[in-house]
């Protein structure tokens, strides 16, 4: 009679984490920055059609790095969750915090119970209204939620980019400066990324209801200077 191999739970989880991290590290990074106009999200993304930054609800945006099909599925589930909540309760009752919790539940569940963890990292950001603070939740592949302030970095080069941002980020930075900062920290060797390599979106705190908008083409080039 053969004995099944014993693998300690520690080893299983470590292997899964390594697997997920390796997948995520292959992709390009993105940064979210609190700025004077709201929350700016800048992604290293040369594709014109496949996005990494999306609108979830009136004041909530979603951004992701990693496996495209996996984060798309999570994104659509988030839109459904938010729209259902807003429809059955009220638009004001939809919050980034709750959505981040729901994502954390799903990612944590998949990480421990499924054969393969999701190879994604998510950002759920909400822009504050009437002086309320912005919220940025960074959700890792294993369901860990980090509540971040000022800026948040997702992706394989997160550590280096975080270092760069710690040096050059200033509170209350204006929109153009934030776009330029994002382009610079995502680039390598001090070379900033240009408009063709960037996907940029803003949760605009001057907008009435739907705060999310993409910044592209002429507007993006102008902000990049």
């Amino acid at each position: 009679m053969s004995m099944p191999f014993y693998v300690s739970p520690e080893q299983v989880l470590k292997d899964r984490a390594d697997y997920a991290r390796k997948g995520i590290a292959q992709g390009r990074s993105l940064v979210a920055l609190e700025c004077e106009r709201g929350v700016l999200i800048v992604a290293d993304n040369p594709s014109r059609t496949l996005s990494k930054i999306y609108e979830i609800y009136d004041r909530i945006a979603f951004a992701a790095v990693g496996m495209y099909n996996e984060f798309q599925m999570l994104r659509v589930a988030g839109v459904r969750h938010a729209d259902l909540k807003g429809y059955s309760y009220s638009r004001e009752d939809v919050s980034a915090r709750e959505l981040a919790n729901a994502y954390a539940q799903t990612l944590g569940q998949v990480f421990t119970h499924e054969l393969k963890p999701y190879e994604v990292e998510l950002l759920v950001a909400e822009v504050g209204v009437n002086g309320a603070p912005n919220e940025m939740y960074h959700i890792l592949y294993n369901g860990v939620v980090v509540d971040e302030q000022r800026f948040s970095v997702l992706g394989g080069q997160a550590e280096q980019i975080n270092e760069k941002l710690k040096e050059s980020y200033t509170d209350g930075i204006d929109l153009a400066a934030a776009v330029r900062l994002g382009a610079r920290v995502l680039g390598s060797d001090g070379e900033a990324l240009d408009a063709e390599q960037l996907e940029v979106a803003l949760l605009d705190n001057t907008r009435e209801r739907r705060a999310f908008r993409k910044i592209k083409n002429a507007e993006l080039r102008e902000l990049l200077g």
Partner: protein, 274 residues
């Protein structure tokens, strides 16, 4: 919605970009009329609030939509300030006549449906696609309509692909009809429609078409007891919204009052020979 878990679907059961289909899966009781159709043999009460006269008119740059502010419940005035013209999204609007409760619910679902599609799919529906979506929601309401909860909307918007405003009307079964230039709906609609017919011409300006819309609503209120007239005492005026390349925008009450007041000294003054 009982829990805080994200909704996922097995392949083949996924509702796609339709919020109404999604709702049908997870919370059918939230659908408009969801509570009505369960009661067998139920008939709509006569004193249920009804919305009355609404209209949509095409002009040079887009469309104008307008509606009076009254809702009636039998012989009673249920509301003097109801708003029956609402934005469907940035470039289209919906106006409702009929059973006020189900109509307001349907508009809310319609608005969510359009935004949901746009977010899930990444692009907004075409104007015709939006018009068809509303037809489907009406068709889903047919059972409630047969019980007396009749909802008849008008839908209008700016069609970017064709660079013009378009007007659609509906019947209770979800039949969808595109109008050439204008349409009215509700109890005072005949009076409003005749007035528009007499005054409409191709290429009207926004100011001209707003005046025509106000005149026809005033005329409808003059002849139809269920349509609310202008009320300078309480400062209640019709809801008027313009939709063109510059998005849906509702005119302020002060603006409508300023445009409407001069019209009150016209033929509407009426009077009898002494």
């Amino acid at each position: 919605m009982a829990d805080n878990r994200l909704p996922f679907f097995a392949p083949g059961l996924d509702p796609g970009p339709s919020f109404a289909d999604f709702l049908r899966h997870v919370a059918p009781h939230h659908l408009p009329g969801g509570g009505l159709t369960g009661a067998a043999g139920a008939v709509a009460p006569a004193d249920m609030p009804h919305g009355t006269t609404v209209l949509a008119i095409r002009y040079a740059d887009g469309v104008v939509m307008a509606g009076d502010r009254r809702a009636t419940a039998g012989m009673m005035i249920a509301s003097r300030r109801i708003e029956k013209v609402m934005p469907a999204d940035d470039f289209s609007g919906v106006a409702i006549a009929g059973a006020a409760g189900p109509a307001v619910e349907m508009v809310k679902l319609f608005q969510t449906q359009l935004e949901h599609y746009e977010k899930v799919q990444g692009d907004a529906l075409s104007l015709e696609g939006k018009a068809n979506q509303l037809a489907q929601l009406l068709r889903a309401n047919l059972q409630a309509a047969m019980m007396g909860f009749v909802v008849v909307p008008l839908f209008a918007g700016y069609d970017h692909a064709r660079a013009r405003g378009r007007v659609f009307s509906y019947d209770v079964t979800g039949g969808r009809y595109e109008e050439m230039d204008f349409q009215t709906q509700g109890s005072g609609s005949i009076h409003a429609r005749n007035w528009i017919k007499a005054g409409w011409r191709e290429g009207m300006s926004a100011d001209e078409v707003v005046e025509l819309a106000l005149r026809s609503l005033f005329a409808a209120a003059d002849e139809d007891a269920a349509t609310g007239g202008p009320d300078p005492v309480r400062n209640i005026w019709p809801v008027v919204a313009l939709i063109d390349t510059d998005r849906y925008r509702r005119l302020s009450d002060d603006d409508v009052a300023a445009r409407g007041t001069p019209l009150l000294s016209g033929p509407e003054r009426g009077g009898y020979a002494r």
